[in-house]
Amino acid sequence: MKLKSSLLKKLPSSGAIYGIILFVLCFSLVIPNYFTLHNISNIARQSAVLCFISMCSCLAILTNQTDLSCGAISSFAACVAAKAMNGGCSVLVGCLIGLLAALAIGAINGVLAGYTEIPTFIITLATMNIAESLGMVLQGGTIHIPYESFKLLSEGNILYIPIPALLVAALYIAMNYILKHRKYGTYLYAVGGKEDAAWTSGINVKRMKLSVYLINAVLAACAGFIYAARLSAANPSQGNGLELNGICAAVLGGIVLGGGRGNVFGALLGAIAISILRNGMNMLGFRILTQMMVIGFILIVILALDVAKKEAK
């Protein structure tokens, strides 16, 4: 009994969970072969990148900031890693170098965001351009990854569970723990919720903001590696549009724009919901144009209903 109620408390108060249940129900009725291990592991692999990026958006939104650069940082990190690997580095060293590259951009974001009053929208817009451009300067296009083993990051399994799914799970469990049970988490919510109050209670708001962008850079780099592992190639434009998808996923999952409220698992559910929707529409043979319309429509409907909910209170 006790376990059940504490579990229920952990359920995020977002509509995404119902969306997922409904999509899965609808799709499994209409599509044969939907509920197979094969398809589920496909979805897990296809959604991993968005899950990571969604966390980036989540952290940014929680602190009342914007991060438009996470998509470009993910491609940039992947390109740097790929280039390093082609230059003779091992997979691990290549990824490390890619990570450092991402952190460099993240540092620019963080310093400007924390220590000046420049709107984070414009900071991350600028660094988004820079990251994508630097990725192109590296090789002007797709860089192929010379190691077969790198593919495993996306295509491999451990005990039949896709590796990306394990990574996503680890990420979200860890972040949830930090945000709910450690000081850092409390400070994070405080900075987003009421920045002045956070100031007066002695929280170093500047460092907190900086930290968010550094963490985002790391997460974006991981997303980039998983993406590149899927294709065995890195492309500087691969992250285009990911950042907006991430924001959509986070918002759909119940992260409140304006900061300070929302459970990270909401971001996960939002990302999964979008991925399930995409996968189902693909299996049904919907043209991509139809898919675009559906997702645009759903976004607006969910937003409106979210607002209606708030006003109803």
Binding site: I122, L125, A126, M136, L289, M293
Partner: protein, 313 residues
């Protein structure tokens, strides 16, 4: 003190002059009249779109991500009326239709943002996805080409023998927008709603009307840009205009708009568009790979807003 005030007011023009000086020192070809005209010509489209973006951003609700999609849909639908063997009357009808569609999209954006209090960036993103897919469905891959000579004149013609018509149209629209923003009540209200929403409410201003107006103007200008663009490209296809939203935000940010709303001008958009294109032109003249353009863009955005921030302190 005086120097600081001067800097604050004219910082953008100072940057523009410095950049022009720098580029012309590095490459004497820059100051050739044909080159300067080329730069002005390439800036025209961006300028018209940025005027619309300015109107929307003055409100302080966020950016309009849908302008590129609006450009695409309006130009594709209007294209059918602008063929080379159509009458001038038909051309005028086509332009009116484009405007109506553009304003309608702006209306939808404005209503969702003002009455439903939805965040602009997500609403316009959702609308963008929907409008893009409508445009793609409408054209279904077809291209419409062969336009009326009046349209071609607007987009790629030369007035008075040597001045590209695009430039004149862009400047006329800029002057009109600047006048509207400064000398009409509805224009000034855009500023008030952005700068001080509570004061606006207090003085009986209906913020919703202004918000809708701002986005309607954005849509209308995108539609006009679409017509000129048809003349420039010589063809209508659904794919066009997709990168404009980020370019426009960059241009208006460089031009000095405040992201919180309430400050910014049509002439700022001119400077922003010019700076962006002069930098690109400079890089081309110096044979710097086009891959670096994004980095230069990003850096200049940061420099411009940083300058603002430092000067304001």
């Amino acid at each position: 003190m005086k120097g600081k005030d001067f800097l604050m007011k004219y910082s953008r023009i100072v940057i523009l002059v410095l950049i022009m000086a720098g580029v012309s020192i590095a490459s004497p070809d820059f100051l050739k009249p044909s080159n300067l005209l080329n730069v002005a010509r390439q800036s025209s489209m961006l300028l018209i779109m940025s005027l619309g973006m300015t109107c929307a951003m003055l409100l302080g609700r966020g950016v309009d991500m849908s302008i590129g999609a609006t450009l695409s849909l309006t130009s594709c639908v209007a294209a059918g009326f602008l063929r080379s063997n159509d009458t001038v009357g038909s051309v005028l009808i086509g332009i009116v239709i484009a405007l109506v569609i553009g304003m309608f999209i702006g209306l939808i954006n404005g209503v969702l943002i003002s009455y439903l209090h939805l965040p602009a960036i997500l609403v316009t993103y959702g609308v963008r996805e929907i409008i893009r897919s409508v445009a793609f469905f409408y054209m279904d891959g077809d291209i419409i080409s062969g336009f009326h000579k009046f349209v071609m004149f607007m987009g790629s013609g030369f007035a008075f023998g040597a001045i590209p018509t695009q430039i004149i149209i862009a400047l006329v629209l800029t002057a009109a927008t600047a006048w509207m923003l400064k000398h009409t009540r509805m224009g000034r209200e855009l500023y008030v709603v952005g700068a001080n929403p509570s004061a606006a409410k207090f003085s009986g201003l209906k913020a919703e009307k202004s918000v809708i107006l701002g986005f309607v103007l954005s849509g209308a200008l995108a539609a006009l840009a679409g017509i000129v663009y048809l003349g420039r490209l010589g063809a209508a296809e659904a794919e066009i205009g997709n990168q404009f939203h980020f370019q426009c935000v960059s241009a208006v940010a460089i031009g000095g708009i405040s992201f919180a709303g309430g400050a910014g001008s049509a002439w700022g958009a001119v400077i922003g568009a010019l700076i962006l294109n002069i930098l690109i032109n400079g890089m081309n003249l110096l044979n710097i790979s086009s891959y670096w353009q994004g980095t230069v863009n990003g850096v200049i955005i940061i420099v411009a807003v940083l300058l603002d921030y430092v000067v304001r302190k």
